[in-house]
Structure formats: C-alpha cells, structure tokens
Symmetry: C2
Subunit: 195 residues, 2 copies
C-alpha cells in the first residue's frame, strides 16, 4: 500500500481545494484501476494549462492570448464594463444572454481577514481600464455576500471619485420564486427597489 | 472564457469521480490562479503513477514491484489470508494493528447490476492463491453492504468447496458507541453473535 508513486499521487490530489484524504484515495484508485487514459489526459491538460494560460492584459480573465477573445470582439459594446469576481461569474453572465459589453475580472474579492486587499484584485488596473475615455458605465456584478458587497462598495467609491457612472446588479426576487419562500432580506430589497 | 487549454483542463477534471462542472471549474481556477506548482506536481504524479503502478502478482494490490512489500515480508503469517475489496480497506486493516497475515485485494466487489462478475474481482486467482497449501484460513473482510455480503457469500461457498476454512469479520456494536444510538440491525447481529 505504501508505494511511492501512489502516495505521491494521493498527496498531490489532496492539495486540490475540497479534496481530503479519502477522496484523494478514491480518485487515485479510480484512475489507476479504471481510467489510466484519463490520468494521462489530465496530466497533459494540467501541464498545458499551467504553461499556456495567463491573464488577459485588458480584463484579467484567463486566456492563452495577449488579449482575450471577448476583449478583442469588435461587436461588443465598449461603453459598458462589467466587473465580476471570477471567470465563472463572467461565464454565467455570458450565458444569461443579457449583456453585450466588456468585462473586468477581479480574480477574487476584497477580504481583509484573508489578507486580500485592493492590490490583489487589481483595483488600480480596473480604474485605469475604466478611465480609457470609451467606458461610460461600470456595472458592478460582484457577489451579494458580505465580501462581495464590501468589494462593490470600495470599487464604486473609487470609480465615482473619477467621475465614472457606476451601477450595481439589481437585487430582488429570483425568477421562478414563490414569494412565500423567499428570504426576508431579499423581499425587503425588492420592495425598496420596486419599479 | 472559452480557451482551449482551460476548457480541456476542466473537461479532464470533470472525468474524475465525484467532480461535476462547478467543482471542475473551481479546481481549475484555483490551480491556475494560486497553485501552478501544484498543477505541475499533480501532472507529474499522475504520469508516474499511470506508468509505474500495477497490480501485485500475488495479492492484486497496487504496487510498483512485481510482488508487493507486504507479500514479500517474511514476518507476516502466511497461514492467514484476508480478502478485502480495495487497497483502502487493506490500509484500514493494517492501521488497526490487529492483523499480521497476508491479503488478497479484490479491487472491487460483485455487482451484477453493474456487470461486475466473479472474473472482475479475480475470484479464480483468489481460489488458486488460497490453495497454495500454506493458507489455513481465509478471512473475508468485504464491506457489510448488500454487495459486500453477496461477494463474501459467493467467495465463501467457492472456497469452502475446496475444503478451505473461511471466516468473516465479526459484526457488532462499534467501539465507543452508546447502545441507544446504534441501529437496530447492528444490535440484532450483536445479540446473535454474543460471546
């Protein structure tokens, strides 16, 4: 059982977020027993991604190019800049089909307790990016959590002080919800923001 | 967002057991954002393990050698052969400190619904292994689940028909349990097997 190659694999898997000793063992056994091709393919994908993927020079999302395809797309409305925390959030906005502007990806959120400050989320780069003379509105689409709200608040202050128009995603009742089961904080916000 | 290297990585991670689209994204973003060294180390560990790890010729557990260190150990009691489903189960028995015999690892369990039959768990090899003239007792340590019990039952029949002594791990109340909170099936078994 205490083979070096197997132990090294379990150890490397354990470093992944959300993977403990048991899951690492289970994944390692599965790959060795049933899917060595999958193991080799994953190894290759990891190497290629670690080598080639970096941050877009304009929006900071992950890309293999100097500037990502979205930022290069002349069809996008360059007057709108949407600020999101992660590429996954950007992906969700894209799939919603409701947005044709550009993005800025913070790659995190302000979290003083974890030592994540304005420098770590590229606040200065965002302000520079938003001050290019073309951007007319910055839409803050950070999460509606404590840290996401703090991030939105800090960025809004900094951007407004440069004379930029700043908006925030609407808060309200999610589509398909029955009012009875919506949490009270959401109902209160939806009442205040009624239209 | 739709970069080839990143998509390929997410796709490869999704093939892992218990990993869905969201976790695959989260793991990929984490590795690229915070732990490229970890990504490269995992890639290397996967390659090395897929290349070097195979099954022990005697007990079928994972090993890099022809015969695994446990099977080679002259200090182990070769008259006892313990049958387990996985290397993880073998590891648990080893850590219990209560066993000094040898093992046979099925690398699975009978599961007709999943098309896993006697051939897939090496039943014939187990019978041959147990009939070496040295083994005097085969201890069945498969899981106490429906499939584990079916496996134990089928193996016990086959082994006993060759005149081998076959035992099963004791069922009963787990150490540290308060009787009040033990499930009724376990209490019933502990009553029947009282000593």
């Amino acid at each position: 059982m205490a083979d070096t190659a197997l132990d090294a694999l379990i150890e490397a898997l354990r470093r992944l977020p959300g993977v403990g000793q048991k899951s690492a063992q289970r994944v390692a056994f599965h790959l060795l027993q049933h899917d060595r091709d999958g193991a080799r393919r994953l190894a290759h994908a990891l190497d290629v991604a670690a080598e080639r993927v970096h941050h877009c020079a304009r929006c900071h999302t992950f890309t293999e190019d100097e500037v990502c395809p979205v930022c290069r797309d002349p069809e996008r409305d360059a007057r709108l800049l949407c600020v999101v925390e992660t590429p996954a959030d950007q992906h969700a906005l894209e799939r919603s089909g409701g947005y044709r502007g550009l993005y800025f990806v913070l790659m995190g959120r302000l979290s003083p307790l974890d030592g994540i400050g304005a420098g770590d989320i590229g606040a200065a780069e965002l302000i520079e990016r938003a001050s290019d003379g073309t951007v007319q509105e910055v839409i803050l689409a950070t999460s509606f959590t404590a840290e996401g709200e703090v991030t939105a608040h800090a960025l809004a202050q900094a951007l407004r002080s440069r004379g930029l128009k700043v908006t925030r995603l609407a808060r309200g009742v999610p589509a398909g919800s029955e009012i009875e089961y919506v949490d009270l904080g959401t109902i209160a916000h939806a009442l205040v923001d009624r239209r």
